[in-house]
Structure formats: structure tokens, C-alpha cells
Subunit: 497 residues, 3 copies
């Protein structure tokens, strides 16, 4: 009998621990959250089940604070006592800071808000919020909509055209289209417009705040409490898993198209190849994260954000939500590449030719707004240390030298196209800024836009991340040359017509 | 000794159950199937091993019928007794309904047919066959080849050109090319043309039926027993796993190109991001399927086909092989978007201007062939309930409103291009239908085709599935505007030449 | 007590074996390698940890030689005794053949070289090196840079343009750009240029050999020991896992762009669909590899390289590092498709019109340099046997017939475009070879290049690998036709201007 008992003990010891997603989370649930769950288990069962799989349902803040520092994910030194000993559930987040939230409304027995914001998350994660605020991403909305050059382009992209008598007219874009176009990633402004009654399939009619720019999870979203950003852009709801933020697929939501071909480059890079082939063996959730042991090639997060240590626990790189900490040049979202801006609010920048751009139309950098050589070197050194986890410094410096050369060459190809564009404007073949017209609306102008917005970007990124054909035939150098010849051919035809 | 025995028992209990793919399947094998296996273990070892991993090799129909209804995968109330107590193996499927099958031939000791069809599968899965028959996909072949407008375009795509004296001539497409081009997905007609003797690497010369349009697994395939479709288009042979049909990669075979960019949109959508990052944790085979527990973001099947329940077992959505049950507007395979057709056989539709299209060339819907507002609302409500698994109705209705706006705007951009096209035809710059010529053959006509076939589709799908840049710079709004300006520029040049 | 002991034994037996990546590898480490590890655990911790997960850290060559032949991965009959009984570690590879290595330098206490080459790997894997040497890939660098036609195109792609007075000038490409463009995959020449002192983040200043063309892992790299190729192109460092080389993602690094769209085709093919949906169940590391059991659809390696056996252990296909063993026609990197070249060094080939191409500009094959019908049939039969693992020969022959037809049609579409191009040259609308000018620099010439380099390739590959829309609307037949009409339209405009 005793033997049987012992065997059963063995059996039990060997059973997997209760899988995430099991019926009861490990952490006790507050009464308020239980109230939410009582209805939402029917109203939105998917997010309830998803939340239950997540760390915030499994650990109380008190438990989280006790973890050794390197593995700790909360950065607060102190967390309000009333939050300390329950799971971080529905009520814990959706009822925080009710007065600051214009989207707070009476929902059931609680004063609840719809949009959980970086300020709410900062209750436990203040350092992450602080860093993120210094990030270009937090300013993605303002940097776009307050920049007249970019907005001129955005209007050309998002406006609806009509044709009458062979003439093309363009209407102003609708808010709806802006919200699902540029602002989908850059972030909408979520304002409370009033109240709305909606039919729930389970509970019938209910009142909700009516929100502008909703839904949205853009990285620079302007929230109803005045804060900027959306943590769930990367830490997707409602599991908020670190695996998610560390997965390259997550970054692809906003970094895939031809204007930001980062994910496409990553996929065909050796780093990406290894990720796709070997990730079965990886531990995407380990904190801190050890190269070679927990993963065998970088994801986006490895190079740009994650806390990395070696097998002995020595820090290779600190966690940072200011993604630009290890980036010295800006390769995307611009005409010519240039050193990173000093201030994440880029609306203050003026180029020598008076545009809201970090370079002039002929590529001169607006140096006083940009980080200096020393700061560039520091950021480069931080990145080199990450690369050094797996590569000798000969390899790393060789790679950095190529990037420097390639971004110069891509910029030179942009200049070649821009000289043709300028000539077309000068010769009256097209109408640009000097003619009080958009420089982005006519056919030949759009051909020119592709040169810098698509092809130069792709070439630069392919160089930065070793993306081979993305810098050659896949919207890279091939297309840079083709565009110049295309513009030249077009000008010959139009001049002689 | 007793203790040792008990320990060994523990050990055995803890061993993984015989892995799928192990040498013997759990279900007994019929004598006829054993006869097939005796040779095919050598002739086609891969599909034998693959079949052995599958459910049909593991369970008899009798066992399947005994499962609780929600988890049951056979929809037949009764299954022929001779099939009840063996695995569903080679002979069980490839010898069904021999008289109906023109492709039946004497093969070894059996009368076998090559092409297993929906009618064969309906022996155990009649409800799925019935639903699928009401699906546009079952009619994909006829809807294409019996539509003169579409076939005009197909001929331009698949025909081979030759050039003499600077003039371009086009030959009719070959059957071989049609079979691997449009009909690869839409489905070929598989007819028996006679008999053929082929050399098998293991068994030497053998006779087989000679089939037209073979190989093919198109969703609207016309089979040698007269049935339409191919279950293995999604439930890939010979494991026929439900995981396969639920995987977005499966849908990508026919839904990836620029004319149907669904998979590309999915990949960069938040839903796709979560799938790629978190699917390690998912149970892709569970029936019924519970959002948040078995999976944490939808795949294609979740929204369009799968039986979904909440954690308490309450049904969120029924299983349906009529994929249009939760779709109210048609976004692809057309010039302008429109409400779904009433009848899956769309060849009956005529537009106001007499074309076999659901809208006129200026976008007027052929309303009497299309579902009405009530039916649209019902389908929308079914989809809203699926979305409601994870999203509040405020979110869902906001999302639906954006789709409505974006499809209107994409249609408006198609109209703008079409007005220019019409003008080119009117002015003799190109020859269209009114000039008894194909509207799809000349350069400028092909530029116009891209507007609706590629860019408007991409914009609409990006809106429907929150695919961000796929609706902006990645063949979205950017290209819609570029095309209008391109056509306008072309007309200016040609008029003045 | 005894029972408890037994239970504990059970427990221990059931524990997973020490996970790869655990602190100590199974194989003893040589003193020299331990010397490397002592510093590199800090200097490059990622590759140390990665190596520890790999087979070469787990098994000594002596152990590897004792494995049954079918599962053995070393092909050497004899391995130098000093290497036999330790892990294959840093020193074992980086100090081999020091005299042959121009990149050998004094590093710590050892004479170490940077670049481990196929000749080094051949110490244990001689057969693989021999086969690989007969491969087109080993000659990828020479076949490109010694071919004046290709280099003319490469110069047009990689050179930087400048514009003055509306005229376009082209500079010669820099070595840096060539290294990250074409030669990234084809392979650079790695030569020792001298010595360089670099700052290591952990150890301060150190001396290293200064290398040209570094970093690089191109398949045809010219190494400092005179050998050709890079095993780590596919067997990525420093785990060198067979899973990696068998993963389609690995091949994507060099086979994804529009000029070599193999991976894109694979992704949307049924084979790819199954891989992405079902690979969780697969054993990517098993040697030999059994279709249906270890995997249920081919990856690139299955068809082109791997040793395959059926469940009874009968060989379906031998392992081969001469990837062309099962390929009879060449579909990429050319103007027209043609039978495979006899010699992997293709620089010797001359077409009837005197170009360094396997066909003339009008598509006539340079037959004497190409494999004959018998050899083609043998290679086809080898591939048919692989296909036969899962498909009947009726299916296989039907598929092969379609490929034959489609490559002819794609070639015909190239000819149509070439006839227009020739006419443009003849009529003085462009300047080609006969006018002593590059045939690849002007706008219309680049439009023509896309016809064969992108669209014909895509159509051929889509046919070969059943990639559906990649042969139709995704850079396939649609674009072949569009290009002909585009060229025709351009000529009309330019003639009349």
C-alpha cells in the first residue's frame, strides 16, 4: 500500500504543473474584478480566458516585487497597498485614475474606463513609461500630424479622387480613413464624443462612452487621460505576454510595408532564418534573456529593447523602452538618412530650405537638431556590444562600415532622382512647392516619392540587417536605378511632346 | 517485487501514448485496405505514414459516432454498417460509389478510383458537403469559366504572345496553362480520357486511367462522379487533419496573390501577429474550439467556419462549411464591392449595362441578385458575435463602420480610374468593348485592371482585417492614387503625341 | 524504503536528459578549446552557448563514427586521432590546416584562423565537400564575376548614379556594395589585407587579420585557404544543426527576391502550407529521414539534398550536397530556361550569338555545354522517385508535363519581349550591344530585364513547385503580358514623339 502511495506521489510530481489557461489563476481575484468576470465570462469569454493564461493573473504585485531584480518585471519600488495582494485583473487596470480618464463611465457597479493607458500601466511599470516617453514612437502621432510636409503626403495618399471631363480632383481624407491608414500605427486621438447605446449579443442594450478614433492601438495614441502611446501595441491584450513583445511578428504590424520594410528584411536575414528554423528550442519568456541559451539569434527586441545577460549573469545590455538607445542613424520615414534627432518630438526641426525635415531637399542635415558624433558613437558601441554576443568585433565593424557606405549610396540615389524632380519643376513639367502645389500629387512626383520612401529605405535596411536581396532586386538598388531611368525617360517624352 | 511492478506500471502510464505515426494505428484495418497497404507501403510510403498519423486511422466510424455531439466530427446519423468497425483507410474511400466514378478501374484485386470527392466524403460528413455546396467556392470553376467577362481577362493573362514586325499577337491559352493558372484554385474538370501505362519505380509498368486536368485540388473542381469541389483543398491528404484546415497557411495557397491578398493582410494584422507569436501554446485540434483557452487570436477558420464555444460550453458560433454565412459584402474578384450574391452560382447575374457582373462599370449593384439589407444584417450580427468573444461591441461596431467607409472609398477610386478608362475608349486612345475589342489587353487597360483587381482589393481587405500598411503603401491607397495619376499622365501624352 | 528508492529511480529515468544548452556538453573538451572558451564565454557568450547545444559539442568523432551508417553524419572513414576523443570545439576547427590559411594569426596561445572553410570541414565530412564542389553553388562567385554579361547587369544595379543638367551618369560600384549586394549570396573573396587593431568591449585592444569581403557567408565564397564555399551558409553557426539546413527559412536568405522567388512559391504551395501548419509534429533532425513519419510534406532539402528512407529503412534517395543531382532544367539566373549545364563552372559556355550565356538572345540553347536528354531523364527519374513517396506516378507525370509546357510558354513570353527590345535597338530608340552600350541601362531595357529576371522566373518556379498565384498575378503570367504591352506602348510613344 505504501508503495502504491509512493508511486502515486511520483505520478503527481511528474504531472505538468497546472497549464496556463486552467480554470483558476494562481493569484486571488479582487471582489471588483470578480464582479467584472461574472459578466465578461459570457460577454467577452476570449479575453477572460486569455487573461487567465497571463502572468498578471498568476502573480500578485507583492509576489512580483519579491523576485530577484534581474528577473523582476515591475519597475515600481512601491505599489499601492490595495493592489498588492490580488491578481492584476479587469478592475485593477480599468478603474485606475478614474478622474484623469475622460472615458470613465458607470458600468455595472463600477466607474470603469475603456482605454487603459501608459499612465495606468505606470502604476507598476513607471520606468518603462518614462523611457517610452523619450521614444520617437510615443510621439509618432504628433510628429506626423504636426508636420506639414508629411501631412501633405498623407492627404495625397488618403484623399479620395474623382474624375470629371478627364480632370482629377482630390477630396480631403475622412477621419475614418486617416484612422485606419497612417494613424493606425501612429495613433489616433481618442476623445469622448458623448454616449452611445449598443446592443450586446448577451446582455442586450447597454450604454458606453462614444469615442473618436476607436478602435486604435497606435504607438503614439493620444489617450483620454492625456497620455501618449499604447502598451498593448506590443504587449497584446489580454495576456500581455513578454513573448509577444519579443516576437518579430509583433513588430511586423507596423514595420512591414515598402515604406518600413524591416520585417521583410528580417525574415530573409540569417537572424530571421535561424529564428524561424530553431525557435522551437527557444525560451521566449525568460527574464533576463541569455543569448545562445534562451535564443540563438536576435529578434527585434534583442537588439532594440531587451535586458540581456551572459550565462554567468553579467549584463550585456539593459532593458530599455527607449528603442533609440542603440540606434545612431535614422533610416526610415524620411528623404535622406541622418543621425537620430535629439528630441523625440521632431516637429521642432527645420531644414536649411525651411521644411519640417531633418535634411534639406538636397540632403544637408539640420545638424543642430541631431545627435552629435559622440552620442552616435556611444549608441553604436551599445549595439556593438549586443552584436558581440555572437560576433567578433572584426565582423561587427565590417558590418557597420557597410551600412555607413550603403546609406550614403542610397542617399546619393535619392539625390539623383531629386535633381531630376527639381528640373521637372523648374522646366514646368510638373508643379511643386515653388508653384504653390503639392510636391506629391502628380504622376512623376509619386515616382520620385517611391525612390526615397520605398527603395532607399529598403536598401538601407537590407544593409543594416543583412537582408540580401531586399537591398538588390526586391525594392532595393535595382529599383533605385530603374526610378532614375524612368524619371529621365519621362522627362524626355514630356519635353518633346 | 510488488513495488517494482507498481513502479513499472507508473512508468508505463507515464509514457506518451503511442505517438501518431507509430507502426500500428489504433483502429482495425479492413482486409481490403490491408491489401492496398501491402503494396503502398513501398509505392507511396509517405502517404501511408501520413494517414497513420491521422484521426481516420485511429478511430472507427462507430467510435466517432459515440462521441458527444459538440466534439463529434462526423455529421452522418447513420453510416453503412460495413464501414463502421474499421479504420477509414485506402479502400474505404477509394472504392466508394464505384459506378458513379468514371475514374474507377481494376487495380490489383479492387475496383478503385483515383479522385475521392465530396460525395465520397459525404458518406460520413453529409452536412459538410451540403453546406459546402451552397458555398461560392464549390462553384468557383463554373463561376469563372462560364463568365465571359472573366474569361476574357483570363485569356489575356494565360495566352502566349508573339511579336512580328513590332506587332503583338496573342494565342489562346493551353489547357495545361489554364490548369495551373486560374483553375489551379478554381478547379479543373477531371475527366477520364482513356487509359495510360506508367512506369512505377517500385512495381514497373502499370495501367491507370488517363485524366484531364490532373493533378488538381481546386475548391470548385468538377469530379469524375459529377460532384463539385475537393475536400483535400483544405483538409490536406492523407492525414486530413482539422489543424490543417484551421491553419492560415492552408488558406494562403489560394488567398495570397495581389488579387486576393487576404493572407498577406492577416500576417501583419494583430490577429496574425498573435498567431505567429503565441501558437506554440494553442490547441489547433480541439473540437469544439474555445477562444482564449484553445487559441488567443482568430485564424481564418475561427471567423469563417469553426464551431466556437465559451469555457462553459455555450455556443458562440456553429460550424459551417458555407463560408459566406458570416460574410455580408463581397470584397474580391470583382470591380466594385457589393452585397454577397444570393445564389452561389453567380453566372446568372447581369449588371445594368449587360455584363456578367454584380455591378455595372460605374458601380451600380445588380441588386436583385444580391442579398438584401436584412440578410446582410443577420450575417453581420453572426460575425459580430464571433468578434465579441474578445472585443466590446463599441470596438466591433467602430471596426465595421470603418470597413463600410473604406470599401466605399476604394470603390470611388475604382470609379475615378474607370472614368479615365472610359474616356480613353471614347477618345480612341484604346479599344474596349464598344470597339469589339477586349477591355483587358492594351497597356492602359491593364493599368486600369490593377486598380480594382489588386489595389482596391488590398485596401478593402486591409480595412476588413486591420492590415495597416496593406491598405496604405503596400498595394493600398498609395497605389490607388498613383494609378489614377498614371492613367491621367498617359492620356495627356497619348493625346498630344 | 526500497520502494521509495525504486520510485526515485523511476523519477530519474523519466527526467528529460540534460537539455541541449545545459552547462556542460556531453563530450570532453580539449585543452586547446578550453583555452578558447575561458575568454569567449565572456567575449562572445552567445556562440559559446549555441555551440554547446549542438551535436558537435555533444559527441566525439569517435562516437560519431560508431553510429550505424544510415544515421551517420560524418562521411570520413578515418579522422585524425588527435581529434577523435574530444568535442569538435573552437580549436578543433579554427586551428586546422594553419599553413593553408592566409588568415592564421597568433591569438592567445594558439595559431588561429577566422574563416572555417569547406576544406576544414572535410576533415570529417569529405564526401559532402566533394559533392558540393560539383555544385553550381560552389562556383556561384566565379560564375558571376567572370561572366561579362552578368557583370554588365551587376554594374548597372550596384553603381551609384548622379544627375547633372538632366543627364544621368553612373559610377562603378564600390567593393563594399558588391559585397552586400550580389556577392552577399554568391560569395566574396576573403583575402588578408594586413592587420588591424580592434577594441573589444571586454578585453580592450586586440590584433586581428584585416580581411577583404568580410563578413560573408556566400555559397561560393573564395576562402583564405583557396577553397570555395561556406558550409555555414546553410548549417548556421555555431550549432551547425541539420534542422537548420533542412528548414526552408534557411534557403530563403538567398532564394526569396523576385529574381529567385523560390521561397515565396514554396510558402504558398501545398507543400509549404503543410509545413507551416503541421511542423510542430515533425522531427527535423532525424537521420535518415522518413516521409510521412518524420515529416509530412517536403522542405527544400527533402527534394534536393536529404537522405530519405521508407518506414522499413529502404532508401528512397541518397544524401547529396550536389543539389543539381535531381534537377534537369535550369529555371533561374538566365534569360531562357535550358537543360542544366554539364560543368558547374559555367564561364566556359558560349551561346550561338557569342554571349556568355547558355542560350542565344532568341533562346537557342548552347547544347554542347548542357546535359543531354539521357542525363535529363535520369535526374527527372530521381526526382520522380522522391515525389513518389506521396504521389502516384500519374500525378507526378502530369505535374512534370505542366512544368515542361509552362517553361516553354514563359520562354516564349521572354522572346516576345526580346523581339520588341531588338526592334527598339534596331530603330535607334535605345542603345544595346550593337551600339557599344550596355543592354541593361536604359529605362526600356530595364523593363525588358524584368521580363526574364523576375516574371519568367516566377512563372517557371510557380509551375515547378505548384505555387498557384505566383505564376498568375503575383509577378507571373499577368506581368509577362503587361510587360509586352508596356514595351509596345513605349515604342509607339517614342517613335511618334
Amino acid at each position: 500500500m505504501r508503495a502504491l502511495l509512493l508511486c502515486l506521489t511520483c505520478l503527481i510530481l511528474l504531472l505538468p504543473v497546472a497549464a496556463p489557461g486552467a480554470d483558476q489563476p494562481a493569484a486571488p481575484i479582487s471582489q471588483a474584478t470578480q464582479g467584472c468576470l461574472d459578466c465578461h465570462i459570457d460577454a467577452t469569454p476570449g479575453i477572460v480566458a486569455d487573461w487567465r493564461r497571463g502572468r498578471m493573473a498568476m502573480k500578485t504585485p507583492a509576489q512580483a516585487l519579491k523576485e530577484p531584480e534581474a528577473g523582476r518585471r515591475v519597475s515600481a519600488k512601491k505599489i499601492p497597498p490595495r493592489l498588492m495582494n490580488t491578481a492584476v485583473g479587469c478592475a485593477e487596470c480599468h478603474t485606475l485614475n478614474p478622474k484623469a480618464h475622460a472615458d470613465t463611465w458607470e458600468h455595472g457597479d463600477e466607474r470603469v474606463h475603456v482605454v487603459v493607458t501608459p499612465t495606468d500601466c505606470a502604476t507598476c511599470h513607471p520606468e518603462e513609461k518614462r523611457q517610452y516617453g523619450h521614444n520617437l514612437m510615443a510621439h509618432a502621432r504628433g510628429n506626423l500630424i504636426n508636420n506639414p510636409v508629411y501631412m501633405n503626403l498623407a492627404d495625397q495618399v488618403n484623399g479620395v479622387m474623382s474624375v470629371k471631363g478627364g480632370k482629377v480632383a482630390l477630396a480631403k481624407p475622412t477621419a475614418s480613413t486617416e484612422a485606419e491608414s497612417c494613424l493606425f500605427c501612429h495613433g489616433t486621438e481618442v476623445k469622448v464624443l458623448g454616449q452611445v447605446t449598443l446592443e450586446d449579443p448577451n446582455f442586450g442594450e447597454m450604454d458606453f462612452p462614444k469615442l473618436s478614433g476607436w478602435p486604435n492601438r497606435g504607438v503614439g495614441r493620444k489617450n483620454p487621460d492625456g497620455s501618449l502611446g499604447s502598451c498593448s501595441a506590443c504587449h497584446s491584450r489580454h495576456q500581455f505576454a513578454i513573448e509577444m513583445a519579443r516576437s518579430p511578428a509583433t513588430c511586423s504590424e507596423c514595420h512591414k510595408g515598402p515604406d518600413v520594410p524591416v520585417y521583410k528584411v528580417y525574415q530573409v536575414s540569417k537572424h530571421g532564418n535561424i529564428y524561424y528554423a530553431m525557435r522551437k528550442q527557444w525560451d521566449m519568456a525568460k527574464v533576463p534573456w541569455t543569448p545562445g541559451k534562451d535564443f540563438t539569434a536576435p529578434t527585434c527586441a534583442v537588439c532594440h529593447a531587451s535586458l540581456l545577460v551572459d550565462a554567468a549573469g553579467n549584463q550585456i545590455a539593459p532593458r530599455s523602452h527607449q528603442m533609440t538607445d542603440r540606434i545612431w542613424v535614422r533610416l526610415q520615414g524620411l528623404i535622406y538618412s541622418h543621425p537620430m534627432p535629439k528630441d523625440p518630438d521632431t516637429t521642432k526641426i527645420k531644414s536649411a530650405d525651411g521644411l519640417s525635415l531633418a535634411t534639406s531637399l538636397t540632403g544637408q542635415p539640420a545638424a543642430k537638431y541631431l545627435i552629435n558624433a559622440k552620442e552616435q558613437a556611444q549608441r553604436k558601441a551599445r549595439m556593438a556590444k549586443v552584436c558581440g554576443s555572437c560576433h567578433s568585433q572584426g565582423w561587427v565593424q565590417g558590418q557597420f562600415a557597410r551600412l555607413e557606405q550603403s546609406r550614403k549610396e542610397a542617399d546619393a540615389m535619392v539625390l539623383a532622382a531629386t535633381r531630376l524632380m527639381q528640373r521637372a519643376w523648374d522646366q514646368g513639367l510638373a508643379k511643386g512647392l515653388a508653384q504653390n502645389d503639392s510636391p506629391f500629387n502628380e504622376y512623376i512626383e509619386r515616382v520620385w516619392v517611391r525612390q526615397w520612401l520605398f527603395y532607399a529605405n529598403s536598401t538601407r535596411f537590407a544593409s543594416a540587417m543583412m537582408g540580401a536581396d531586399m537591398g538588390v532586386f526586391d525594392k532595393g538598388r535595382w529599383d533605385l536605378g530603374l526610378t532614375v531611368e524612368h524619371m529621365h525617360d519621362w522627362m524626355e517624352l514630356h519635353k518633346k511632346k
